[in-house]
């Protein structure tokens, strides 16, 4: 069943041509965190790509907070339906076993911790697990959508993001500088450089991206980076 999704997402990805290799790498690495039987909510951006790389021998269902569980691939051209979209407002299809529901029930799934894994992007993550991803003061503010509900509710949140911003500054901070989306909620971060666990004592380095040194990761991490023993390379 997932095979169909995978093929489809790849099509759209190829078409767009603007996916950097490292974003794909991040998605591939996160896909390994998705386990059999998981209900997963994917944010917009890199998280959406994760669906492409989930193992084909496990069963996973994707929830979209606008009111669908069991999302499938994009529709065939000409079969798109304005009444069947995902949270990114993209036309989608559903797989057998899918269901539609209202916004209150959708957030019952999220707030009630029935969704097993939430993957979303971030502008900043702090070493205590705080996350900022919805607002840059002074710039256009688009809003938090469902992100605040997701991060306040989920037990299992993985952040997918580049390790540094366009100006080269670290996005893994001692303290977030932007308005927060949620406090102390991020458990794991996968970036173009590393896999990091958020612990009581700060960012704990778990894995390095292929060819990236611990020093490079340290340099790109403003928050406290805990390095214990040998750090293996990611296996993508």
């Amino acid at each position: 069943m997932l095979k169909v999704i995978n093929e489809i997402f790849r099509v759209s990805e190829d078409k767009k041509q603007n996916i950097m290799l490292d974003k794909t790498g991040i998605a591939k690495r996160i896909a390994k965190e998705v386990q059999d039987g998981y209900y997963v909510n994917l944010g917009i951006g890199i998280p959406t790509l994760v669906a492409n790389y989930v193992r084909e021998d496990i069963e996973v269902e994707f929830q979209s907070e606008n009111g669908v569980l069991g999302m499938g691939p994009f529709p065939f051209e000409g079969e798109e339906d304005a009444d069947i979209i995902n949270a990114g407002k993209q036309t989608i299809t559903t797989l057998p076993g899918a269901s539609f529901f209202d916004s209150a029930m959708s957030f019952s799934m999220i707030r009630g911790q029935h969704v097993d894994l939430t993957i979303l992007g971030a502008m900043e993550v702090a070493e205590n697990g705080d996350i900022a991803n919805w607002k840059i003061p002074g710039k256009m503010v688009k809003g938090m959508g469902g992100a605040m509900d997701l991060v306040a509710s989920a037990e299992n949140i993985i952040v997918a993001m580049m390790h540094t911003n366009r100006a080269g500054a670290s996005k893994l901070l001692k303290k977030c500088s932007l308005p927060l989306t949620g406090v102390g909620c991020v458990k794991k971060i996968v970036t173009n450089l590393a896999v990091i666990e958020v612990t009581d004592k700060g960012f704990k380095l778990l894995e390095r991206a292929p060819g990236v040194s611990v020093d490079e990761i340290k340099k790109a991490t403003e928050g406290n980076l805990i390095v214990e023993g040998e750090i293996p390379e990611m296996n993508i």
Partner: protein, 233 residues
């Protein structure tokens, strides 16, 4: 059967006036009450507070009301598809209250269900919680959020009957059901108005008791915001 059917969008929007608070269903442009929005634009009423997950696009949905500067305040979770919106917000003409999407849904549901307020974890520790009561239950922090108060709720359903019963379609359902009965008057527009008794009582999403007026909408455009498709091989 208590008859809720009105014959036109004008009958359905009777009583609207300046400075009212409206709830409007829809997510993006999906499931928005197109006919009611057009009637609000035509009415020219101003100073509106609109509770709606999104604010439409420049030339469709609530964007049409924004173009005519009829909206004083938006209460939404995500508003990022609209240049005119951005201009009015940055210039201070438009007041914007951004709240988490689940909070928006549940503040509607609280109004519908007679709850004065709810405790939600969403937004705790963020600027959304500023000035609001927070409280710990079982070691987790929650924010007290109040039920909305609105004059009209405008919702869009797929099928309905004169008793006011509604069935929604796909993800066009979204906020529409939770807004029914959450305002003083709920106005439902439907694509198909079927004879009473045709809808299976077991499959009605919103019973007619939550709806005061129902009418058959016309000329649905149902615009798609992000047309994503795949090719047949």
């Amino acid at each position: 059967m208590i008859n809720k059917k009105v014959n036109s969008v004008n009958d359905a929007t009777k009583g609207i006036s300046d400075n009212m608070t409206f709830m409007l269903g829809g997510f993006g442009l999906s499931g928005i009450p197109e006919n009611a929005i057009k009637a609000l634009v035509d009415s020219g009423i101003k100073g509106l507070t609109c509770i709606s997950n999104n604010a439409g696009v420049d030339d469709f949905g609530l964007g049409l009301l924004l173009q005519k500067k009829q909206i004083k305040k938006m209460v939404s979770s995500y508003v990022g598809e609209n240049d005119e919106f951005e201009r009015q917000m940055l210039s201070g003409e438009l007041d914007v209250e951004l709240i988490p999407q689940g909070t928006l849904a549940e503040r509607c549901r609280a109004a519908q269900a007679g709850f004065p307020a709810i405790y939600t974890p969403a937004g705790y520790g963020t600027e959304v919680a500023e000035g609001k009561e927070t409280r710990e239950f079982d070691g987790k922090m929650y924010v007290l959020e109040h039920a909305f108060k609105a004059d009209f709720a405008f919702v869009k359903a797929w099928k309905g009957d004169a008793a006011g019963n509604l069935i929604f379609k796909g993800t066009a359902r979204n906020f529409n059901p939770v807004m029914c009965g959450a305002a003083k008057i709920t106005v439902a527009e439907v694509e198909e108005l079927v004879p009473v008794g045709e809808l299976d009582p077991n499959q009605i999403h919103i019973p007619g008791i939550f709806v005061q007026r129902i009418f058959k909408g016309e000329n649905y455009e149902k615009r798609i915001e992000q047309r994503t498709v795949r090719q047949k091989e």
